[in-house]
């Protein structure tokens, strides 16, 4: 099992928002839900490789900024065209005010 990687401070992300996190040549999207939970997915949309961190978080949904494709960022499920392929999610925990992502 891979180590937990520090992505950012918990306060770096507004509620119901997302930020980009790059690590080891890969890019991720870190989410803070409206009920103050944290989640992580791959950073690029499965449709056309656009950074989801430039998109809009609404409840459980991240909407891609390029074509408005939607994912449930908690489960990774594709939720609206033109997105057809689910996105990979990663375990997240908050420890001592830091957001940690378990990158597989």
């Amino acid at each position: 099992m891979s180590d937990w990687v520090e992505a950012c401070a918990a306060g770096d992300i507004d509620e119901e928002d997302v930020m980009r996190f790059d690590h080891g040549g890969r890019t991720f999207a870190i989410y803070r839900s409206p009920d103050d939970e944290y989640f992580a997915t791959d950073g690029l949309c499965t449709h056309e490789k656009v950074h989801l961190a430039d998109g809009l978080v609404m409840d459980d949904i991240i909407e891609c900024p390029k074509h408005n494709g939607r994912f449930n960022y908690k489960t990774g499920a594709a939720r609206g065209a033109p997105v057809c392929v689910n996105i990979k999610t990663y375990p997240v925990k908050v420890d001592a005010g830091k957001v940690l992502v378990q990158i597989g």
Binding site: D17, E48, L56, E63, P65, K66, R70, G80, A81, C84
Partner: protein, 363 residues
């Protein structure tokens, strides 16, 4: 006016389609004005309120004008009612289809989907096919061979353009496509942008629509009256003029094969009625640059980034005054186009984003 044969290949499965992919013009990185995250996030916020209000007004106006047209059918008094009904049916649906297809009009997704389906039927655009064609339009805006929604190809076919104002060719193609899809046939071009798992949905919708039009025609024959067709189908022709009038301004006469929406799209100031019909898509550079921003927030987006954009065209008339001479000149030289000028406050064009077409632009 007859144009010389084009050197461009606009086919989605032709030479220029292949070249666009090879040259990196397809699915390229596009220019965006820098906006702080806090501000763009605020502009992207969804709300049901404005679209519910505007949809209620739209549906009420459709019902009243349609009822008025039917009531006065047979007298000249029906003309103003059908004039309004036609625009609400055959033009307003262009923007409703578009905005709800993006999923930005309403916050509640089923509301977007419901208006999308109704608007698609009225504007005669298969909701599956056009969702995917519009996705491509945003990926490869006015990239020759890649964008399925280039409305004015070079050299421009002026007869086709004029016929577009009465929807004749659009409706003909829409009906042909509908019947072809209803027969279970997805064309080679459609297959380039509709994923395989979606194609069956396009066929199912086409079959439902064919049944509705067949029922309307049967009703017209049974009653011996054109009235059913004046209410369903024909408004796509007699009411198309407004959406064509404003739609041609989106990209007409501007650059092709560039990856900067400031070069290939046009923002036009319009009167409030046209903006209601068009749902603010006159802010077209802004829409392409930030398609997540709902129509009702586009004026605020425009105010925020206009320092980085070419000066907006002052009116619809001004737009045609700059566009028509370009079309006429393209009949003699299809490489000619209008290169947009940026204000001194703008970040310059990144020429490395563009292909050789920019270098040969006519000033």
């Amino acid at each position: 006016m007859t144009a010389a044969p084009s050197r461009r290949d606009y086919s989605l499965i032709g030479r220029d389609a292949r070249l666009a992919v090879e040259n990196g013009l397809s699915a390229a990185e596009w220019y965006h004005t820098d906006i702080p995250r806090k501000q763009i996030k605020e502009l992207m916020q969804r709300s049901d309120g404005p679209a519910i209000r505007d949809t209620a007004i739209w549906l009420a106006a459709l019902a009243i004008s349609g009822a008025g047209g039917a009531w006065f059918w047979g007298s000249w008094w029906c003309v103003p009612f059908f004039f309004a009904y036609g625009v609400l049916y055959g033009s307003s649906t262009d923007s409703r289809w578009h905005e709800c297809g993006h999923g930005t009009a309403f916050r509640t997704q089923w509301m977007n989907d419901a208006v999308y389906q109704v608007a698609c039927f009225m504007i005669m655009r298969n909701p599956v096919t056009w969702r995917w064609s519009h996705t491509r339009h945003h990926t490869d805006t006015i990239i020759v061979g890649r964008d399925p929604e280039i409305s004015v190809m070079r050299p421009p076919d002026l007869v086709r353009l004029v016929l577009g104002f009465v929807g004749v060719l659009d409706a003909w193609h829409a009906m042909s496509d509908m019947l072809r899809n209803a027969a279970g046939n997805i064309s080679a071009a459609e297959k380039t942008f509709i994923p395989e798992q979606e194609q069956q949905k396009a066929i199912r919708i086409a079959r439902i629509w064919t049944a509705i039009y067949a029922a309307t025609i049967a009703l017209a024959l049974y009653t011996g009256s054109f009235l059913p067709l004046m209410l369903v189908g024909l408004p796509r022709l007699y009411g198309a003029w407004h959406h064509v009038m404003v739609g041609l301004l989106q990209h007409g006469g501007l650059a092709e094969n560039v990856t900067d929406h400031r070069l290939n799209s046009r923002t036009v100031y319009m009167n409030p009625i046209s903006r209601f019909i068009y749902w603010n898509m006159n802010y077209h550079v802004e829409h392409h640059m930030f398609p997540m921003v709902p129509y009702h927030a586009l004026p605020r987006l425009h105010a925020l980034i206009k320092h980085d954009l070419p000066a907006p065209t002052r009116s619809i008339l001004a737009g045609y005054r700059e566009m028509i001479p370009v079309f006429r000149r393209q009949l003699r030289n299809e490489d000619y186009f209008l290169k947009r000028e940026l204000p001194p406050t703008a970040r310059p064009y990144r020429e490395e984003f563009h292909n050789d077409a920019v270098a040969t632009a006519a000033e």
